[in-house]
């Protein structure tokens, strides 16, 4: 036994030594032991811990799981047993572990998640009795390898580090018998049962469809400042360390399974179930789905300069004709993100087309994501393309660059919203991206071919940002944002300021910034300052003034033209003419006009911009304006009157919350436009009245 313990310590030391350095190439992890075998092996001191650093691994692989889980469809429960192999990669020791038990967010109405959902006005506030879900940990054991496993179950307790809510059971603290020093590795066995809820937060079940995310007790992240293991909040997502996952899922035979990673084996059981064994390297989460109804399709992404990716699509039968739309959208993300930021390295990707009403669509997990379509999905409208590109794109921003979504959701959601809009714009197949509206209970679509969605406003989500622009400061931890404003701030504001930066610095420069950041922080956990540092370093500029405004402030940008006036130059009094003082009124010659343009800064935020003045003879004058003063006047004397003036004519500042006041025409078409739209509205109203007339 002492020899075994010594070997374990040596292996742990090796793990610490190789853990963060070996990020070069990915070796497959073959033959990972099943948990029960692993328990026995580790207990007997015969095997190395699972998370010993692997030379050539992409990530630190410091939180690895070997899990056996059984789905009981009749009771909608999961019974699981996991062995966590965790290596302390922080610089501080810890004498406890903290686990996320996400399903307990839906244990009752008093969890922090439910309280916050009510505050946000979420429809999830009144679940029916059968809708609830929970997770009960029945056993926690420390596998020492030297002695019998140490049962820690009795020592565990729930904590609420964020709000002190005593009813919240989403964080389980497990005190350890001895501290885990930096670089040390421990193995912990956890057994649990879960009631799968009717879907909350895109995990759960409906009918015979299951989408299972955040379904196992998941370790938080130990940082130098201590455990980063937040309670589950209604407005945030997740954060975990990278590792290797070996998961064996037992489901009814005949049911299709899709999961993070790749299937490595399948075996039929005597009780009418099938065990599906999946394996995933260098990922920080594991999600899976099962249903008897999926239709499976396969295709490949191939590119001359990027690794081949095998795509597996699990499709709802009613969307059978939409397979290629899903594949093309996924290829769009893999191609453009790959060209712009860096390659998707895994070689496989699973696309899940979620069941109707499952509320599990539009979510990302490592090497697997859920898209979202409708039975009636007309061509020319980017559904399912928009959500598919976005969620596939999360493989880069979230999957590969693993920021803390609890605290800095903008680092993946915003980066990805920006990238999604850019990729959709780049793909010629999506040029006809029309606005559509659904009628008759929201089922029957009507495509408005007069309304083309734009990257600037629609792709970036300008209206969403405007609605919550001043509600919070983006540097506030995301889970503490003012209720229901995370979308506007994390997604839209970030996309808008990145797009602004693209136009301010030029795409080649921003692309270099983002690809450098991607390369430097892939398979790691960056903080906001890490991106800002890369931006300054690569651009060679101090962009602090910009990040202070867009990230550390809720000030808004709003520039406008408040006046354009052209008046004849008609001097009064006396002027010197032909060497004599004469009355000014007698002046002759070509009439000239004095044009006055007044631009204003309505918002508190400042951005250097341009002012364009166009005269009626076609002459254009561009003026630079640092944008600092509250207002500035430009005066010209020309033979022609001004036609219009526009501040920020090239639309660099996409964060400007009011584009309408950016221009001022001396011959505005407002009456013509207003009349046109009034006439259209009159037809709509008369039609409505005639509909009412049906009742007479």
């Amino acid at each position: 036994m002492p020899r075994a313990r010594t070997a374990l310590i040596m292996l742990a030391a090796l793990a610490a030594a190789f853990g963060t350095a070996a990020l070069v190439a990915q070796p497959p992890l073959e033959g990972a032991p099943a948990p029960r075998q692993a328990v026995a092996a580790v207990a007997a001191g015969q095997a190395a811990p699972l998370a010993v650093a692997h030379p050539g691994a992409w990530s630190p692989r410091n939180a690895s799981y070997s899990i056996d889980v059984r789905l009981d469809h009749a009771s909608r429960t999961l019974s699981g047993r996991a062995i966590l192999t965790w290596r302390n990669v922080a610089s501080v020791p810890t004498s406890e572990l903290r686990f996320h038990l996400y399903y307990n967010a839906w244990r009752n109405s008093e969890s922090t998640w439910m309280r916050e959902a009510r505050l946000r006005g979420s429809s999830a506030q009144a679940p029916r009795p059968g809708d609830w879900g929970w997770m009960d940990v029945s056993q926690v054991r420390l596998l020492t390898g030297a002695t019998e496993p140490v049962d820690l179950t009795g020592r565990t307790r729930f904590i609420a580090p964020d709000d002190g809510n005593p009813s919240d059971r989403t964080v389980l603290m497990v005190p350890l018998p001895a501290p885990v020093a930096p670089g040390d590795t421990i193995n912990v066995e956890v057994a649990w049962t879960s009631k799968v809820p009717r879907t909350f937060s895109r995990t759960g079940t409906i009918g015979s469809y299951y989408f299972l995310a955040q379904w196992f007790p998941k370790l938080g992240v130990l940082e130098d400042s201590g455990w980063n293991c937040h309670q589950f909040h209604a407005g945030t997502e997740f954060y975990a360390d990278y590792g290797v996952y070996d998961v064996r899922m037992i489901v009814p035979s005949g049911w299709v399974v899709g999961a993070s990673g790749q299937e490595r084996g399948r075996s039929e059981n005597a009780d009418g179930t099938t065990t599906h064994a999946y394996h995933a390297d260098d990922v920080h989460d594991f999600a899976w789905t099962t249903s008897p109804d999926y239709v499976e399709r396969r295709a490949a992404f191939e590119h001359p300069n990027l690794p081949k990716v095998e795509m597996r699509l699990l499709l709802q039968p009613e969307h059978d004709t939409q397979a290629e739309r899903h594949f093309e959208a996924t290829r769009t993300a893999l191609r453009y993100y790959g060209e712009w930021y860096g390659a998707y390295p895994y070689g496989y990707l699973t696309i899940i087309d979620p069941a109707w009403q499952s509320r599990s669509g539009g979510m990302e997990y490592p090497t697997l994501f859920t898209a979202g379509s409708r039975w009636l999905a007309p061509a020319g409208v980017t559904q399912p393309e928009g959500v598919t590109v976005h969620e596939a794109g999360h493989q880069f921003w979230y999957g590969i660059v693993g920021n803390n979504e609890f605290e800095h959701a903008w680092m993946d959601e915003g980066f990805n919203t920006f990238s999604t809009a850019r990729a959709i714009e780049a793909n010629p197949a999506y040029r006809t991206n029309y606005y559509a509206q659904r009628y008759f209970g929201g089922f029957i679509p009507w495509v408005f071919r007069d309304i083309v969605r734009t990257r600037e406003a629609d792709g970036n989500g300008l209206a969403g940002y405007r609605g919550s622009a001043e509600s919070d400061v983006p540097s506030t931890p995301t889970y503490m944002y003012y209720p229901a404003t995370g979308g506007g701030l994390s997604y839209s504001k970030t996309a808008l300021w990145l797009h602004t930066l693209e136009r301010y610095l030029g795409w080649p420069m921003l692309q270099r910034i983002m690809s450098t950041y991607f390369d430097r922080w892939k398979f790691r956990h960056p903080q906001p300052q890490d991106f800002f540092t890369v931006a300054n370093e690569v651009s060679g500029r101090d962009l602090g003034w910009y990040f202070d405004q867009v990230h550390r402030s809720s000030n808004v940008f709003d520039y406008g033209v408040s006046l354009v006036k052209s008046e004849p130059v008609a001097a009064s009094g006396f002027v010197e003419r032909d060497g004599k003082i004469q009355p000014a009124e007698g002046a002759t010659g070509t009439p000239r006009f004095r044009t006055t343009v007044v631009v204003r800064r309505h918002g508190e935020a400042v951005f250097p911009t341009e002012v364009l003045v166009v005269f009626r003879d076609g002459e254009q004058v561009r003026e630079a304006w640092n944008g600092r003063d509250r207002w500035k006047a430009f005066i010209y004397e020309r033979e022609a009157q001004a036609a219009y003036a526009e501040v920020d004519p090239s639309r660099v500042l996409l964060l400007d919350i009011n584009r309408v006041n950016n221009s001022y025409s001396t011959t505005p078409k407002r009456d013509e436009a207003a009349r046109k739209w009034m006439l259209k509205w009159l037809v709509w109203l008369q039609d409505a009245l005639m509909g009412a007339g049906f009742f007479i």
Binding site: I206, Q316, E318, W356, Q357, S358, R374, W375, L376, Y435, Y439, F440, G441, F443, I444, W446, F448, D450, I451, T454, E456, A457, D458, L462, A463, G467, R659, V660, S663, Y664, S665, T666, P668, K669, R670, D671, E672, A673, A674, R675, K676, W677, M678, L679, K680, W681, L682, V683, W684, L685, Q686, D687, A688, L689, M690, G691, A692, G693, F695, I696
Partner: protein
Amino acid sequence: MSTIVTAFRDGVLRVLRAPAVWIGVFLLTIAITVPPGLVLESSIAESLGNSLAADRSSDGVDMEWWTFYGESAQGVGTTFTPSVIGFAAFLDNLSRLMDGGFVPEPVMGTALLYLVVWVFLVGGILDRYARNRVLRAQAFFSACGTYVIRFVRLGILAVIGYGFLFWLLHGWLIDDLWGWATRNWTVERNAVILRLGLYAVFGVLLLAWNLVLDYAKIRAVVEDRRSMLGALFAGTRFVARHPGRTVGLYALNGAAFVFVVVLYAALAPGAAGSGMIAWLGFAVGLAFLAVRLFAKLLFYASQTALFQASLAHAEYTAAPVPVWPDSPAAEAIANAAGQEVV
């Protein structure tokens, strides 16, 4: 079948022979909508101001401005959505009706005014179609005045029926039954089919009640009935005794209406252009509405013709020479008997 077609053809002729009714109601519809339209126009102009967004909105759609406008719109401005463009206007209104709505709240006052005007006019319209001859305005409005109070009373009965259909049955069918049935469904197509089926059930009951009310109104006018409860029962009896004819004619009228709608779906103007193009688009919209109004009047006229065709033959009826304002029934009998109408 020939009775239905004859009544339909007769209805078309009756509507065409009374162009003043058609045009008058149409102009009235326009007149009622103009005041809120001017409010909206002013609101849009104010929002656009001197911005170049006005140029873009004039030439096509500036969705960015539209979204911005919508975020701060109040009153009728809140109803100014992309659904006003082309055929979407019809879809929007029909969809709202099928989903249990009436009209959006900001135009509720206008709609109620429109209904009040219809309640006033419908007696005169039916009287005109029933007499099927030229009437002076005095006679038309006198008939309107004669029946308006009766139709207010009938309207109360109608509202009770429509209230049952919309507030109880619709909620039960679409919200409760559909919601309950589909709660655990994972196939959208099946849910849509069920919903369309429930729309059909609701629609059939709605149309049935509307059919009965139509004949109640027709019998109230043609037979100069004072009791609206009696008229309602009489209308019901007539439909019950002639289900093939009444439903067949209603379906034929409905088919004519659907034809008009399909035609408009193909021709409805988009949002491009301004000035003359905008006016042209407006004219196309108005043409659709005018034909649609014709279709509505055709329901009245053809159903009146059908009812009158089923009256007892004049030769078997002893009656004095009718003198206006005797009832249309008296006139019809006189007409059939070749009597002179005084």
